[in-house]
Point group: C2
Chain length 358, copies 2
């Protein structure tokens, strides 16, 4: 079977630093609770997990934002905690509380029992990828994703979200051997998981290191970046005769941009605290950059949204060979008015055309 | 009345970049819930506010950590929200929920009513400073403090802590004029407040910009740093015949270190994500640096605490003229075992002596 021709490959070309007519954009968590149609599907599915584990539902919500907005990429609807769930940690999403594991990994015995899960347990994810690719019918590329070994490890050890990361950091400082073992397993599982997504049809992959920025300088490199690097080294880099670009996003990571850019990824995602001009200078256009509008700018009304979008595009500066993918600096807020996204898409596409004619 | 001679002025001298025999240290939130004696006093006071508003209690808890540990500075026990409380916003500390305002500042009418409070309403703070200075009897210097106009503004608009700063950022993006008005009033109030603390006996002052790092690049400069700069410009810089050094701490601010260092402060506080060697290079020793151990390192046991303390001292590098004040990168956790602090103090004092003989 031959895949249908990709009608809009501007996202992929910008990641590969090839000439493009405008700055492509997509939004982290673009399929999500700010869309009434998403909430309707989720209600039908019954729970977040049921939604993520059913390929028809996952496909439906993945496509929803593309029906409303002229986005340049789709991203698989799933969760970064599918891997530890497949490891048997017992994931649940409690209403209003976020994800929680019944069996967190805290003691030496828990760590000893931990193994790379059989990817068959994650077949529902790969099935969703295949179905979405089919339904997209070449409209825009599909992004697959996973959490970074460290970020997923945070949830595995803490058992849930945390404000101080006390449990995993206690392990890091007192029993680094245990944490290294967890991260090693996570890195291997993440590599297999992303490769299976690529083989199922993901045309780009993104690694979310959402909590890399809570680590101390030096320890970020040892406990987060080193394991993301391992994943990068094991990734399939070409599929269906085309390069599969990889994006690494570390929230709070702009300080370490040179090191992040050097692990073999094609693009680095940045949060809104980063100055794109400085980051671009520091990485000397060796990677593409993705970002970095403050998700809260979408609450400012039309004039502010347009002005802030232009600020991001201007910060990146004149474009010759792609290299910029517009995005938010973090996931879109559930309280965002959907009309704000229409304004943003319009402004990014319209305003950036001028930058690309320079 | 002449003030007693300061027996240990190493903290002040290090801030002024004068030669010192070792790296001085104190800990953010050193008078706090990790100390059983603090909890005992707090229970006697009845509430956090009662504790902070009574000069005898405030003095008692300020001195508690100095009785246990050889710290090189005391810091006034108080809260960054005393100013908006004096503005009439109705501060309360709900058990397990943190601070909350009965009357947050969200609408144009709220902003119009806002005025710089009469400093007489904050006399209890200045009384506490005077009493603490007296009781310290020259043992170590006393630090006064305030929140930055932006950080205090976050609480005033949000009404409490926030994970996304949606309300204040909605104001920032949609009605920047209202936010500028709030910040202007906060800057003026903060200047008067810190100057009154200095006149009451504070020998150094610190401005906590705890939430500056949640702002987008550029907007940090406009909505946080510009107002901290205003405070700096209005501060009394000499008192009792001695320079009163000012420290500015922006959590997540290392990216903007050059700009922060240029607003006239004597020292910049840094969180644990910053690399002190890089920051020192970027600021070319034009300011002292304060920080930056991860507070969670104190959970790692003795060997890890000593190793991580040495890492911070080594990162700063050889010292000729002071310039480093050891601290945590954020407040000490309430779960910290007090013995961990003893180990830290010992290691910092002992290990750093060698650096100062270079």
């Amino acid at each position: 079977m031959t895949a249908p021709i990709l009608k809009n490959d501007i996202f992929l070309r910008s990641l590969m630093r090839e000439p493009v007519p405008y700055t492509p954009l997509w939004l982290m968590r673009q399929a999500g609770r700010y869309l009434p149609e998403y909430n309707e599907t989720r209600a039908r599915a019954g729970s977040f997990l049921a939604l993520a584990q059913n390929r028809e539902y996952a496909c439906e919500v993945t496509l929803q934002p593309l029906l409303r907005f002229k986005l340049d990429a789709a991203i698989l609807f799933s969760d970064i905690l599918t891997i530890p769930h497949a490891m048997g940690l017992g994931l649940d999403f409690l209403t209003g509380e976020g994800p929680k594991f019944a069996h967190p990994v805290r003691h030496e015995d828990d760590v000893k029992k931990l193994v790379v899960p059989d990817m068959a347990k994650l077949q529902y994810v790969f099935d969703a990828v295949s179905l979405i690719r089919k339904e997209l019918d070449g409209k825009v590329p599909l992004i697959g994703f996973a959490g970074s070994p460290w970020t997923v490890g945070c949830y595995m050890v803490e058992g849930q979200g945390s404000s101080d990361y006390r449990l995993i950091k206690t392990m890091l400082y007192s029993r680094p051997d245990l944490l290294h073992r967890i991260l090693e397993i996570n890195a291997q599982a993440t590599t297999e998981y992303l490769n299976a997504q690529i083989q199922a049809g993901a045309q780009a992959v993104m690694i979310f290191d959402s909590w890399g920025g809570v680590l101390a300088d030096g320890l970020f490199h040892e406990f987060s970046l080193a394991y993301t690097h391992k994943v990068m080294r094991g990734l399939i880099r070409e599929h269906e005769g085309r390069k599969v670009p990889a994006i690494v996003f570390t929230k709070g990571g702009a300080q370490w941009i040179e090191q992040i850019a050097s692990i073999g990824c094609d693009a680095v995602g940045l949060d809104w605290t980063a100055n794109l001009a400085h980051v671009r200078q520091r990485t000397a256009d060796s990677v593409a950059l993705q970002g970095n509008l403050d998700p809260m700018a979408l609450f400012g009304g039309e004039a502010a949204i347009r002005a802030e979008a232009r600020r991001v595009i201007d910060d990146f500066g004149p474009v010759k060979n792609g290299g910029h993918v517009f995005n938010l600096g973090h996931g879109i807020s559930r309280f965002t008015p959907p009309e704000a996204v229409s304004v943003l898409v319009d402004e990014v596409h319209t305003y950036s055309r001028a930058m690309h004619q320079n």
